[in-house]
Amino acid sequence: MLNLVALILLFPLIGTVINGLAGKRLRKETVGYLACGAIGLSFLVSFMVFIGLLQLPPDERLFEKHLFRWIESGSFISAAALQVDPLSVVMILVITGVGFLIHLYSIGYMHHDKGYHRYFCYLNLFVFSMLLLVLSNNFLLMFIGWEAVGLCSYLLIGFWFEKKSASDAAKKAFVVNRVGDFGFALGIMLIFLTFHSIDFTEVFSAVSHGNFEKGSFTVTMITLLLFIGATGKSAQIPLYTWLPDAMEGPTPVSALIHAATMVTAGVYMIARCNALYLLSPFTMTVVASIGVITALFAASVGLVQNDIKRVLAYSTISQLGYMFLACGVGAFTAGVFHLMTHAFFKALLFLASGSVIHALSGEQDIRKMGGLKPHIPVTYKTFLIGTVAIAGIPPFAGFFSKDEILLEALVRGNFIYWSLGAFAALLTAFYMFRLLFMTFHGECRVDHHAMEHLHESPKNMTLPLVALAGLSFVGGFFGIPGANALEHFLAPVLGGHGHTEVRGAVSAGHHGAWLPYLMMVISTAIALVGIFLAYQMYIKKPGLSKKLAERFRLIHKLLLNKYYVDEIYDAIFINPTKKISTQVLWKVIDVRMIDGSVNGIAWLVGRIGSVLRHLQTGYIRNYAFYIVVGCILIIVLAVFGR
């Protein structure tokens, strides 16, 4: 069954090709169902692969499928080969599963769009790329997937290319990702230089053979470079700026790419390279610190945003920060666990918000919403589940995963991580419920024009919502303390570094076995406090937020403008570069200096020519004079020149 793994990739590819080449001529239904079917089949095969993997003994759950030799140059070999192990299986299940639901949702959501076939072509391509990313067995192939998802992200963000903001956002996403890729690519090269191979198995086995001492410079460099890549793709500080803008794309795209799957690629990569990362405590500290700071930072921006999708975007950044925090403290399983649950509830939230936007004919500003609860009940309910999940209320998915991260941060990291993380959790609960309240509760601020068209979404849109809501509800149980199904499953990959050991250590004594339970309580309490504050501010005393905003005008403005990071980047990097390129490099160095000197020499020679030609006066006596002068010189040279 494992041999079928190539099919997982093949189906979406076929979907892409057919829709890409012939989609224009196909009927809309055909296009949509073709795309969905491709992903559905992919999901089925993924599941079969999963079953196949389960049938193997835990230690042998690694399957490689060699397809063909890709790049071979001297000792540099990168094959097109796939690798199935528990980690990738989890990923492909999430990708194809969530992907399928989102495809389904898109059929309804994008129904009226002119670029229907283009959309599904891109979407299938994205799934293909993402699967390639997680299934590849070496860094370079992974890099293909890595860049290809970036490309799809670019294409999909810029899907409505006629909107300037959309195409700008697309370009920004691609470029910022490229900055990250720069690190990733260098990382791969350094890996090749260090290990003489870029195959996962070979690299990690070299590591596990203990050829490298902990904290060695090379490994630190490798991991840091890879982490730069991860910050790009997973929107961490300082490369997160593209993600909020990416909301210009269609909402299902935001759900699939910019929430559920692609942005988690960085986490996946770090988890994949856990063996390397564990060798470099310094990098781990960096990862954890960036993670927690991002979590807090994004959450704080999320507090004041008014665009429904932007709030979700910042929340995504924040949640990704959690995952990095987990990885950074060594709790890779917790990271992957959160990755999974986050995929469920964030996809849900986005799709639900999409449903809201759909209902309001494209309105995204939450200040123009409110009181929608009765009009779109299914959306509301599912949105509520998602919100609760992300806020961390037991027993929803987000609770377990986030709680575990916070616990690990405290146990394996330090108090600061925990407290920052916890504070971010508080903010998360607050802004998510602010979003919920402002959208669905309170008075209705929708303009009457949109009101007329207000309707609940069709079945094919609500069905995925419900399904995802279900997943958000049950998703947490895969990693519930005690059962630890996920943890055990992932153990061969994330290995002894997983958190069983920690649990063991914990239960063995430092803090006592009560700690996890205490933490659960504290987490829940934090979430509740957040919800309460939101309730107070947006339901009970609707004016309070404005007052607070005026009171802390500076901070509010700072947050509202996202700390002016975009502006700062513009001022520091983009504008000077453009200006220097135009004014100095091109106009001065190129045109004036280099070309100027080239033309100058030509001009000079011509000039000398036109000056010298006047020696040719036309007077015989002058000519004779030249002869005499030449004569004297030659005689002098001949006779005395020795």
Binding site: L612, I620, N622, I627, I634, A638
Partner: protein
């Protein structure tokens, strides 16, 4: 009378000269006898051509080897034979391109052909002369003929002026040459090149300043003939003023003859004093090519431009002279031959495009030629690229040869200056093609009346330029054999 040496007289060795002079007379006679009746005077051109062909047939060593006759003052060796071939070729081509030109310009006199033939005699004497006297006489025969030919359009002031300039300066330079010869004679007691050489060898090199000065003055005299800076000043004016066909002839024949004598004198007579004269020629070479090229850029008249280009080419040839090795000599021969084809070809096209009284010799008059007369333009392009030294043309192989010679002797600096110059030259040669192909025509091209003779001349030039560029091997071998004889 026993003490008078027996002359080594070999009439066969001067057979080409005799043939040419005979045909020169015949032309004159026919001209006189047939003066009014023949009208077109086509016959004269054909007679001259027959003479040239006959001379070419007989221009070979009777014994097949080197032959010195006339008391060792006249050398029939491969060297002089090669040059003879160049002279005859350039003369032949000149007659081909002259035919229609002189008719159009109404200077269609029999003397024209005769003088060309006589000047060829002078050139042959220069190339074959093994003593200074023969070289001097040859030079004068050649020069005086060309003074006259330059002034042949006697009703045109421009032609008179050119002739006067050329004549006065030429005579002036002759003074220096003669003075040089007299000093060389005074300090060696000989005018025969070999005797001079053996005298110098017996002294173990030149130490006598008088001899050095004599050598320097000879360099001046010949430098004038080959248009080396600073003795070049006559060239542009004379080239511009002379009848175009004669300009073509002048830029090739006398220059080749000058180099023939130059090489023979410097290498045969002063070969062991190479170090003494190389530095002079070195400087002359640099000055000549640079001045020629740089000023050529500023020209707008195509004849003047070609004149400066001719100066520049003299500079390249001087490079070969400096290197003074076997390659330098054979390179000179090859280059001269190549230059004959491409330069006469270019002038032929100038002639084709000009009309009476309206010579169209401004470069801008060529605008739009490229697609109006594609074949002519193509030929002109070929000649221009050849002069610029772009493969696969004769000019490239020639330059390659000359720079090889320079590098072989270690004159890398000179070679570098040479190639920089050839880049500069590309600019103005290219400008012709630019104007022909890339500018819109500014004038109407009247339907050209092209005589078959000039077409033949252009065709020969094209074929020669290409053949020497693509299959230079045979000619190179001959040129290489020629060099063995000099020393």
């Amino acid at each position: 009378m026993t003490n008078v040496s027996i002359m080594t007289f070999n009439i066969l060795s001067i057979l080409p000269i005799l043939i040419l002079s005979g045909f020169g007379m015949i032309v004159l006679l026919v001209d006189v006898l047939s003066s009014r009746r023949l009208g077109e005077k086509n016959l004269l051109a054909y007679i001259s051509l027959i003479g040239i062909i006959l001379a070419a047939i007989f221009a070979r060593s009777p014994a097949g080897t080197t032959l010195f006759s006339f008391n060792e003052s006249f050398a029939i060796d491969n060297y002089s034979l090669f040059f003879n071939f160049i002279f005859l070729l350039s003369t032949g081509l000149t007659i081909l391109i002259s035919h229609s030109y002189i008719k159009r310009e109404e200077i269609n006199h029999g003397e024209y052909y005769a003088l060309i033939l006589f000047s060829t005699i002078g050139m042959m004497l220069m190339a074959a002369g093994a003593d200074l006297l023969n070289i001097f006489i040859g030079l004068e025969v050649m020069s005086i003929s060309i003074y006259i030919l330059t002034g042949f359009k006697r009703s045109k002031l421009i032609s008179n002026e050119a002739s006067l300039k050329y004549f006065l300066l030429g005579a002036f330079a002759t003074g220096f040459l003669l003075y040089g010869i007299s000093l060389v004679y005074g300090s060696t007691g000989a005018i025969n090149l070999k005797q001079i050489a053996s005298f110098i060898a017996s002294k173990g090199g030149i130490s006598d300043p008088v001899l050095l000065m004599g050598m320097g003055l000879i360099i001046i005299g010949l430098g004038f003939k080959v248009a080396s800076v600073p003795f070049h000043a006559w060239v542009p004016d004379v080239y511009e003023g002379a009848p175009t066909a004669i300009t073509a002839f002048m830029s090739v024949g006398p220059k080749a003859a000058g180099f023939a004598a130059f090489l023979r004198i410097l290498i045969t007579a002063f070969g062991s004093a190479h170090d003494e004269w190389q530095k002079i020629i070195y400087i002359l070479a640099i000055l000549t090519m640079t001045t020629g090229n740089v000023i050529a850029i500023a020209q707008t008249n195509i004849k003047r431009m070609l004149a400066y280009s001719s100066i520049a080419h003299a500079g390249y040839l001087l490079i070969a002279l400096v290197s003074a090795n076997d390659m330098g000599v054979s390179g000179t021969l090859f280059y001269m031959l190549a230059y004959t084809f491409m330069n006469i070809g270019a002038f032929a096209i100038v002639i084709v495009l000009s009309r009476k009284g309206d010579e169209f010799i401004q470069i801008n008059d060529y605008a739009g030629l490229g697609f109006k007369h594609p074949l002519l333009a193509l030929a002109m392009t070929l000649f221009m690229f050849s002069m610029a030294g772009v493969p696969p043309t004769a000019g490239f192989v020639g330059k390659f040869y000359i720079f090889s010679a320079a590098i072989k002797s270690g004159y890398i600096g000179l070679a570098v200056i040479g190639v920089i110059n050839s880049v500069i030259s590309v600019y103005y040669y290219l400008r012709i093609t630019v104007i022909m192909y890339m500018k819109e025509p500014t004038r109407e091209f009247a339907p050209l009346t092209i005589s078959p003779l000039i077409v033949a001349a252009i065709a020969i030039s094209v074929i020669g330029t290409l053949h020497l560029g693509i299959f230079p091997s045979k000619v190179m071998e001959i040129a290489q054999q020629a060099t063995l004889m000099l020393k």
